[in-house]
């Protein structure tokens, strides 16, 4: 596969604008074989501290498990904004994520980040797209992430379903979180993910949502932070974003531990039968 090395992490906002302007014309069933790479990305400690504060981590030198995703976000956006990319970026929905951390990641270590888009698959609400992220320190693979996105469109009812997430345990909540109206704007400012569906009721409505929703990657990171230090070292976590969390709202964290594994998730406070996020962690 062709590896294209970028000069540095590209600036996200112009890419998102370009992706928005070219959204309509995108078609085709093939994802170009291409890996975009940025080398030796240096972690900005102020941004990291703001991220750690917003997602419930201590301010420390260890990168939260979902943080390299944030570092790779501009590269991923650049890949999807390319003219030959078949799926429109605006309105794309993050469905799933699987992250493996091979060793503790220290903020002092520059990371080389690879972004590769994988296959398109039919889905009952459009097509799904696999994206693979890899992070290396001096050639050593230290972190990898496989994401599944949904490009909404004409779906096929008979499309094969992916792994269903495990059912959330019932019982009392272990924590109650009140997610404020400006959470999407706050997370956008620390992560660079300024997708309009997260920012404001009006901008979300323009994208076909009744109002703005929390970033899935915030709910994922906040849940991992609540599970303790397990995901800071070698570990694998998975997340399924099952139902959007409209802002503002109140969600409940539920947790079930078994051996080294943890099953956790967020459910609606108002309607506990609504599961927003399911997370598993093996450390």
């Amino acid at each position: 596969m062709a590896v294209e090395v970028l000069d540095g992490p590209p600036s996200t906002v112009p890419l998102l604008a370009r992706a928005a302007l070219t959204a309509r014309g995108r078609h085709g069933g093939e994802v170009p074989e291409r890996t975009l790479r940025v080398e030796d990305v240096v972690v900005d400690r102020h941004r990291l501290a703001a991220y750690q504060r917003l997602t419930g981590y201590d301010v420390s030198d260890t990168l939260p498990q979902a943080y390299p995703w944030v570092l790779a976000f501009p590269v991923q956006t650049a890949l999807m904004a390319r003219p030959d990319f078949p799926v429109a970026l605006p309105g794309m929905v993050h469905l799933e994520n699987r992250v493996t951390t091979h060793r503790r990641l220290d903020a002092a270590e520059p990371l080389t980040l690879d972004v590769t888009a994988g296959a398109l698959r039919p889905h009952r609400r459009g097509r799904t797209l696999d994206v693979r992220l890899e992070a290396r320190v001096a050639g050593e693979l230290v972190w990898e992430c496989d994401s599944v996105y949904l490009g909404r469109g004409r779906g096929s009812e008979d499309a094969p379903r992916g792994d269903a997430p495990p059912a959330l345990p019932g019982g009392p909540a272990v924590a109650v979180w009140r997610l404020p109206d400006d959470l999407g704007r706050e997370y956008a400012s620390v992560s660079g993910d300024v997708n309009p569906i997260h920012l404001h009721p009006l901008s979300a409505r323009a994208m076909g949502f009744p109002r703005h929703i929390a970033h899935g990657m915030w709910t994922y990171a906040r849940t991992l932070a609540a599970l303790g230090r397990g995901s800071l070292g070698p570990s694998t976590s998975r997340v399924w974003f099952t139902k959007p969390v409209f802002l503002p709202s109140t969600v409940e964290l539920v947790v079930q531990r078994s051996g080294t594994g943890v099953l956790a998730g967020l459910r609606s406070r108002k309607d506990p039968s609504t599961t927003h996020v399911v997370v598993t962690l093996d450390a």
Binding site: R45, A49, D58, S60, D61, R229
Partner: protein, 427 residues
């Protein structure tokens, strides 16, 4: 409960100390204390371990941090069923925490414990003026719309403003430096003597880093691997060229360099019984022998604000049957260079020892070659509550290097005219 047993210092850990608004500007007390604890846990293999208790505190504390130490424990890899509580005795906090847990271990009430402290001069709570606070509370209490309107109307633009905490004594309105300047003048401590002590502190701390002394006492944090305040290549000329910061006129001798800077940092010390240590494969560095606290009446100007350790030490020596010279090492906290020099001058002074301490003879002088041998707060910085843990861990390791039976004295002055002192003995 009829017998006591020895409490051992098994290890210590701190994060490098940073200057105010330095690399830790965005870190909270809880972040820093968790980092110091986590490093201690990692180095001693305590992950998942339930300890007897963890005791720490901070001098400058947000009201939301009412359970600061417990929250740090929950954020660490220690077993979540490890209890914790906060204490606060100004700059004596860390050493007082050590005394408390050592006593519990000695009495058999705990087998293991961590004592520590943390302070941030950067992430400080901001307080609204008292008048505004009263009005806002009234507004909050108001039940009827009329009461609310009345309370709201009383708010004035001139009520606005913020107060940032400072190292000022509430009852005198004077800063600690101003208090110290009076004591320094009383003991005729010269500018040169203070600058020499400050320079020695930097040189000794730098040498300790060079020989790797802190390799197992420190966990890097937010990119810092050494104390930010450390200036290894400072000179007497440079120090002598600085303007004075406290006191006035020709008597002013105290500068920013021979006073400690406002700092951010955290420290933690692991203590345990000998049985617990053996069961966990840990070797005692030193035993906790004794501790004493004292306070002085500084309000009438009878005694200096930071002179309480001068009273605490002779009381502890008498109880132990020791003289001031019976120590291999002395750790006298350098709140200001003048604090160390005034304390030593008082112990050498016949009149002070007779009139104030009630002794027949002066305590005498101490061998300066044994004083703060790896530097102290002037070089390392002084995050108030974190200093005690830094000193206990440093001294325990130094005594261990010197071999069994070596004895060390710790003396720490604190705001409010208080002092905390202790004796450690090499294991």
């Amino acid at each position: 409960m009829t017998t006591t047993r020895r409490a051992a210092v098994l290890g210590g850990n701190r994060i490098p100390f940073a200057r105010q608004f330095g690399p830790y500007a965005e870190a909270s007390n809880q972040d820093m204390l968790t980092a110091a604890l986590e490093g201690l846990v990692a180095r001693h293999g305590l992950a998942g371990e339930r300890l007897g208790e963890v005791v720490a505190g901070a001098v400058i504390k947000h009201s939301r941090d009412f359970n600061l130490t417990r929250e740090a424990v929950l954020g660490s890899s220690l077993a979540p069923d490890t209890p914790a509580y906060d204490i606060q005795q100004a700059c004596g906090t860390g050493l007082e925490a050590t005394i408390l847990v050592a006593n519990k271990i000695a009495l058999g009430q705990a087998d293991s414990a961590i004592a520590g402290g943390v302070d941030s001069a950067s992430d400080a709570p901001i307080v609204v003026p008292e008048k505004l606070r009263q009005k806002l509370l009234r507004l909050n209490r108001a039940k009827t719309p009329a009461d609310r309107a009345k309370a709201a109307i009383s708010l004035r633009p001139t009520d606005l403003g913020i107060q940032v905490p400072a190292a000022t004594e509430p009852r005198t309105g004077m800063s600690m430096g101003e208090h110290m300047a009076i004591t320094a003048a009383r003991w005729r401590i010269t500018r040169e003597a203070q600058d020499e002590l400050a320079l020695a502190s930097h040189q000794k701390l730098a040498a300790a880093y060079e020989r790797g002394f802190f390799d197992d006492l420190l966990t890097p944090y937010l990119g810092l691997t050494r104390d930010q305040n450390l200036r290894p290549d400072s000179t007497l000329e440079k120090l002598g060229s600085l303007r004075t910061a406290f006191g006035s006129g020709p008597d002013a001798t105290m500068t920013a360099a021979n006073s400690t800077p406002l700092s951010d940092g955290a420290s933690a010390v692991l203590l345990g019984s000998e049985e617990w240590a053996a069961a966990h494969g840990l070797k005692p560095l030193a035993f906790f022998v004794d501790g004493e606290t004292a306070a002085v009446d500084y309000l009438g100007g009878e005694e200096g604000l930071l002179m309480a350790p001068a009273y605490a030490v002779p009381r502890m020596l008498a109880r132990q049957g020791l003289t001031l010279q019976d120590f291999d090492l002395y750790e006298i906290h350098e709140a200001f260079a003048a604090t160390v020099l005034s304390t030593m001058a008082a112990w050498e002074d016949e009149e002070f020892c007779h009139d104030r301490l009630g002794l027949d003879a002066p305590l005498g002088s101490i061998d300066r070659a044994k004083l703060n041998v790896t530097g102290s707060s002037l070089a390392a910085g002084h995050p108030f509550a974190a200093t005690g843990g830094r000193i206990v861990a440093t001294l325990a390791k130094l005594l261990h290097e010197r071999g069994s039976g070596a004895r060390g004295l710790i003396s720490i002055c604190a705001a409010g005219g208080q002092g905390v002192v202790a004796i450690l003995e090499a294991a």
